[in-house]
């Protein structure tokens, strides 16, 4: 251990001129004590600052700091004890007033005391680590006034009572409250919290517990929420006016818990006024209020969302399974769009465009739309209706809006390939009968489908449009090279590429002589320029305009189907024909023939033929004559346009079968694609990969996938692994 040599250097002692009188300290203190009292008695104006400052300075310099400090503590404590009695004596409303007044006085006095004792504050106190004067003053106030046994409880109770009165509607002196609360805050955060805030929060919780219980028994949901909102705003207001800003979040938590969180489920499910009722009645304001209040509490929004989602699913399910609704496809789809619009509005106006709610809405729609297997067909029929006539006179932007809404429904479909099939059928009918309202609208929708599903989906549809255009050019070329035909019947041919158009079985039909000659000419012309192709006439899809003269000379132009034309032309050579004769002559298939005759003989306003007997149905024994008495206000009469209709049951089965058939090669193609890249893969993974790949077109059935795998194994595209029967291998 080394010796630390102490080096004491002495500076010459500084000699102070003032005489050191042993009684000096007492005398000096007495002066200061007197001054402090005078300050408290509002008599400060008679005092000299510098004299007092000098006295305090001298005491500290002469090492009497301790005496000065303890004297100060004693004097202030004594004074505050007297003050305490004054406050205790105050009656009723004067209690807070008195306390406020005396607190203000105390602060003023403290400032002055601190000024004259500043020298001690800056030198003696730091070195002895005693409490500085100002802080000392606050602590003494706290200990002798606030925490005095006669005052502490009374103060808290007075404050809480004022809050209660204000909550029950009275007007209180907010300025006074603010000053008192500020006093507590100045005395330190723990004073504010323990002597006010914590009890305040407890009492508030009790209050709101009671109030919420009372309200929920007698109010409906909307009213309750209004009241809750009002109370929250009141509390915010209260904090702004006379509480510590940091209390805001605490008191709002209390209100949220007592008024909202504790009654959340009861409110949402309230009979006749709960969430479901608000949704049904489009109560935007109430819903918005519910959203804003519930978002403050845990699980609030998810509760709303769940109830909304299951409600939409329920109503949606009822919608799509209601047999009444299913009678009119266009109405059906319109109803779906209306539902979607309704909820879009609600989410926009009341739920703040919340994405999670949008998602809930989308998943609900996806769920129930696919519950009805005819949804794809109906949506296509809706589009068909719009493109035929519904969009007539509608502005371009509005057209886009409607098509976008349709696309949105389309996205929800799981069986998009079914939609494609129907859409193709309906489009074909529209194009061939020339019944589309707007070419631009048609193309616009194709573009949207392409963006959504890819080129493959729409390539055939586009092919149909191309065929129509090409056919126009072909017709021009035909008539240009056969000018002699200008006088005869005008033929318009649409040449349809087989792959692009919906497949039709080939039909028989005997065309009238004039027509068949013309058609042959066209056939040779066409095959002349396009060798290697085969043409077959689709007589079930054509139309004709024929001029007819009736009994009294009334002339009309009739717009009919090709079948109808064949039948009518027969009457140029005969006055009456029976069913069998017509059937033989035209060779039109029975079902179509019956429909065709019915539309001409049994429909009011279109009955260009008369039938004997006059029954509604066509029987094999019926005889037909031209209806000489036929009249119509219009010159041009439309009979039997080939309109797209909701399929009958057998037709529906047929289409479904075709869809299933079409799916088989698609599944196989997917399997081969996957196996080619993976080489070996187990059964379950094949199923999941295939399903995923085909998801955008349809929902693949695992049983079907299994069958396709078997088929591919048979055809030696794949093989099973020798040891593991669940493993497949690609055979190049």
């Amino acid at each position: 251990m080394s010796n630390q040599k102490k080096r004491n250097f002495q500076i010459e002692a500084f000699k102070h001129r003032v005489v050191v009188d042993p009684k000096y300290a007492d005398k000096t203190w007495k002066v200061l004590e007197h001054a402090i009292r005078e300050i408290y008695n509002h008599n400060a104006s008679g005092l000299s600052f510098e004299e007092l400052y000098r006295n305090a300075y001298n005491m500290v310099l002469h090492k009497y700091g301790e005496k000065l400090y303890s004297g100060l503590v004693k004097t202030m404590t004594c004074h505050l004890k007297e003050i305490s009695k004054c406050i205790e004596a105050a009656q009723g409303g004067m209690f807070l007033e008195e306390m406020n007044k005396l607190w203000t006085d105390h602060n003023k006095a403290l400032q002055m005391i601190r000024d004259i004792l500043m020298y001690m504050d800056r030198t003696y106190i730091p070195s002895t680590q005693k409490t500085p004067v100002h802080e000392l003053g606050l602590n003494l106030w706290r200990d002798n006034i606030i925490h005095s046994s006669k005052i502490q409880t009374r103060l808290l109770n007075t404050l809480l009572e004022l809050v209660l009165r204000e909550r029950t509607g009275d007007v209180i002196n907010r300025g006074l409250m603010r000053n008192i609360i500020k006093m507590l805050m100045d005395l330190g955060p723990s004073v504010y919290q323990e002597d006010f805030e914590n009890p305040f929060l407890e009492v508030s919780a009790e209050f709101y517990k009671g109030e919420s219980q009372k309200f929920i028994e007698c109010c409906d949901c909307g009213d309750y929420l209004k009241k809750a909102e009002r109370r929250l705003n009141e509390e915010l207001d209260r904090v702004t006016h006379y509480l510590d800003a940091r209390s805001e979040v605490k008191i709002t938590n209390v209100v949220e818990k007592e008024m909202i969180a504790n009654h959340m489920l009861r409110l949402v499910h309230m009979e006749n006024s709960g969430l479901v009722n608000m949704l049904l009645d489009d109560k935007y304001e109430d819903l918005g209020r519910m959203y804003n209040l519930f978002r403050r509490v845990a699980n609030g929004l998810s509760t709303i969302r769940e109830v909304m989602t299951s409600h939409i699913r329920e109503t949606g399910k009822q919608l799509v399974t209601d047999p009444e609704r299913l009678k009119d496809p266009v109405e059906f789809v319109q109803r779906l769009l209306d539902e979607k619009d309704k909820y879009d509005s609600i989410i926009k106006l009341s739920f703040n465009n919340d994405k999670t709610f949008q998602n809930g809405l989308n998943s609900s729609f996806e769920y129930f739309i696919n519950l009805n297997t005819r949804s794809p067909e109906f949506i296509s029929l809706f589009v068909d209706d719009k493109l035929r006539k519904g969009l007539k006179g509608v502005s371009e932007e509005d057209v886009e809006v409607i098509l976008d809404k349709v696309m949105m429904l389309f996205r929800y479909l799981q069986e998009k390939d079914v939609f494609e099939k129907y859409y193709k059928q309906h489009l074909a009918k529209r194009l061939l009968s020339g019944k589309t309202v707007s070419d631009d609208a048609e193309r616009s929708l194709i573009v949207k489908l392409k963006t959504e599903c890819g080129y493959q989906f729409t390539s055939k549809l586009e092919g149909m449009f191309t065929d129509m255009k090409t056919s126009q050019d072909t017709m021009q070329g035909f008539y240009a090279s056969h000018p002699e035909l200008g006088d005869g019947p005008t033929l318009t041919v649409q040449v349809l590429t087989t792959g692009s158009w919906p497949t039709q079985p080939s039909v028989t039909c005997n065309l009238p002589a004039e027509m068949s000659a013309l058609c042959e000419k066209f056939r040779s012309y066409y095959l002349g320029t396009h060798t290697g192709r085969r043409l077959s006439w689709q007589t079930n899809m054509g139309t004709a305009d024929i001029k007819a003269t009736f009994g009294k000379g009334q002339k009309h132009e009739l717009n009919v189907s090709t079948y109808q034309m064949c039948v009518l032309m027969l009457f140029n050579n005969a006055d009456r024909l029976n069913y069998k004769e017509i059937e033989q002559a035209t060779e039109i298939p029975a079902l179509d023939l019956k429909r065709c005759l019915q539309s001409m003989a049994c429909v009011k306003g279109k009955n260009v033929l008369r039938k004997e007997p006059m029954s509604k149905d066509i029987c094999e024994d019926d005889t037909f004559l031209v209806n000489e008495k036929f009249t119509s206000k219009l010159y041009k009469v439309k009979i039997g346009t080939v309109v797209a209709q909701k399929e009958s049951e057998p037709e529906k089965q047929e289409t479904r079968q075709r869809v299933e058939e079409d799916r088989k090669p698609q599944i196989e193609a997917a399997i081969v694609r996957i196996m080619k890249s993976r080489r070996t893969l187990d059964h379950n993974n094949v199923i999941s990969e295939v399903t995923k790949q085909l998801q955008s077109r349809f929902l693949a059935n695992p049983t079907e996938i299994k069958k396709r795998i078997e088929s591919l194994i048979e055809r030696e595209f794949l093989e099973r692994d020798g040891t593991d029967r669940k493993l497949y291998r690609y055979l190049a």
Binding site: F9, R54, M118
Partner: protein, 139 residues
Amino acid sequence: MSRVFKLKSSDNETFEVEEAAALLSETIKSSSSTEITVPNVKAEILGKVVEWCNKHAESEDTKDQLIKEWDAEFVSVDQHVLFKLITAADYLQIKELVDQLTQRVGDMIKAKTLKTVEMTYPTFNVEREVQEELKSLGF
């Protein structure tokens, strides 16, 4: 309009000081009147204090090299004057001035140290003592 403060020395001489300079003193800041009597401080000393305050009121940047040089000049006075200045600055609670003055005292002590020791103990060799001390500590 800046106020003018009157500082009176113990021998009844009055110095007029502009507000900016006067408020460097905490005591004057707290005072309710503009006239302060500084006890036990003669005019000569009080005058120097006022001079310091005026200089430091002009330029606020005490890190300025010129000010530093001026300050160094200012505190280069003998011990007696120095202690009187400290008393005045202490009473008036001018922290910066007190710090500078006491720093000077410290420097003086440092300077005195070796000389005083060697004067008192002629055979004492400070350097040798230090080296032996270091050796015993292991350096």
